[in-house]
């Protein structure tokens, strides 16, 4: 039986690319998203399992995890990819947006890790990959709250890696640079060209470049890698 991987934010962008590559690599993949996209529906025809879930409803997460484990069995891996990236200066960002960003970008992955880690503990084997961003360690005007959430995720991952390493579970982050996805569609024109120009490879990383790092971290070859961050940014932060 193939290993089960749960991917959040599976309907678009990076989440979709991760699901596609994991299916190609022979994993059983369960995608979570609020609603399925057309692309995700196509992947369902290739075997992708889908469960509609609104992860911003934090109180529902324990029951969701319990149901998923009962229905699909103990997961091998969790990919915390779902996130929002509101663009705006802090001084005028509405408090409700700060709250909802922190709920989805930090609290939801922590709770998902807490509850899906348990079956991994019983298996004495597992993988957690948290999708961070180069913004966790570099500054970007208008993304301070998003940056805080990603830096928090990296700190969380390092300590959790220490906590669960003894049980054969690895916890890592993948930090993409700017990718052309719906999430970054507001980044256009000069800003985008400037990022491309400054990149040693002269281009942006793609969702597929980043998904490749996730697939690697789930492989046997990555069994000794834990508590670290793999940056996939076409060299932008070099």
């Amino acid at each position: 039986m193939s290993k089960l991987v749960i991917v959040t934010g599976a309907s678009r962008g990076l989440g979709l690319a991760i699901c596609r590559q994991l299916l190609q690599a022979g994993y059983s993949v369960l995608g979570l998203a609020r609603t399925p996209s057309d692309e995700l529906t196509q992947l369902q025809q290739q075997g992708l399992l889908f469960r509609a879930a609104d992860l911003s409803k934090l109180d529902n997460i324990p029951a969701l995890c319990s149901e998923l484990t009962k229905q699909y069995g103990r997961p091998y891996a969790l990919i915390n990819n779902a996130a929002v990236g509101y663009d705006g200066v802090l001084a005028t960002m509405h408090n409700s947006e700060i709250n909802s960003l922190l709920n989805l970008n930090i609290q939801a992955p922590i709770l998902l890790s807490k509850y899906l880690l348990r079956p991994m503990l019983l298996n004495q084997s597992g993988r957690i990959v948290n999708i961070s961003s180069i913004i966790a360690r570099t500054g970007f005007n208008g993304l301070s709250v998003y940056a805080a959430s990603k830096a928090a995720l990296e700190g969380f991952s390092k300590s959790l890696a220490r906590e669960v390493g003894k049980a054969g579970i690895t916890v890592n982050c993948v930090a993409p640079g700017y990718m052309q996805t719906e999430m970054t569609h507001s980044l256009q024109g000069d800003k985008l060209e400037s990022i491309k120009r400054r990149s040693p490879l002269g281009r942006l990383a793609t969702p597929d470049d980043t998904a490749g790092a996730v697939v690697y971290l789930l492989s046997e070859q990555a069994a000794a890698i834990t508590g670290t961050t793999i940056t996939v940014d076409a060299g932008s932060t070099a």
């Binding site: 319990s66 484990t69 348990r118 079956p119 503990l121 019983l122 004495q124 669960v164 003894k166 049980a167």
Partner: protein, 85 residues
Amino acid sequence: MELEHTIRQTLDQVAIIANCQLIDNINDDTVLLQSGLDSLGFAMLVAQLEEDLGIDPFSQMQIAVYPRTFAEFVGVYRQTLANGN
């Protein structure tokens, strides 16, 4: 008594998986932290009991509860089951 038996069996089972050596004669007054099971082992105990009993009292409670002794641990599960989850 059946619940306590289940918990004792599960305790033995996870101690083996977690590679922990339990002390002899765990009784009601045994302090959990001195039982030989480490903190990750307790997480496994809660996880296994959730699979077997279908409840996680510690998530279902409105406030954080940390049982100190084995009897208190069993009591938390007994109370949750009595409350109909």
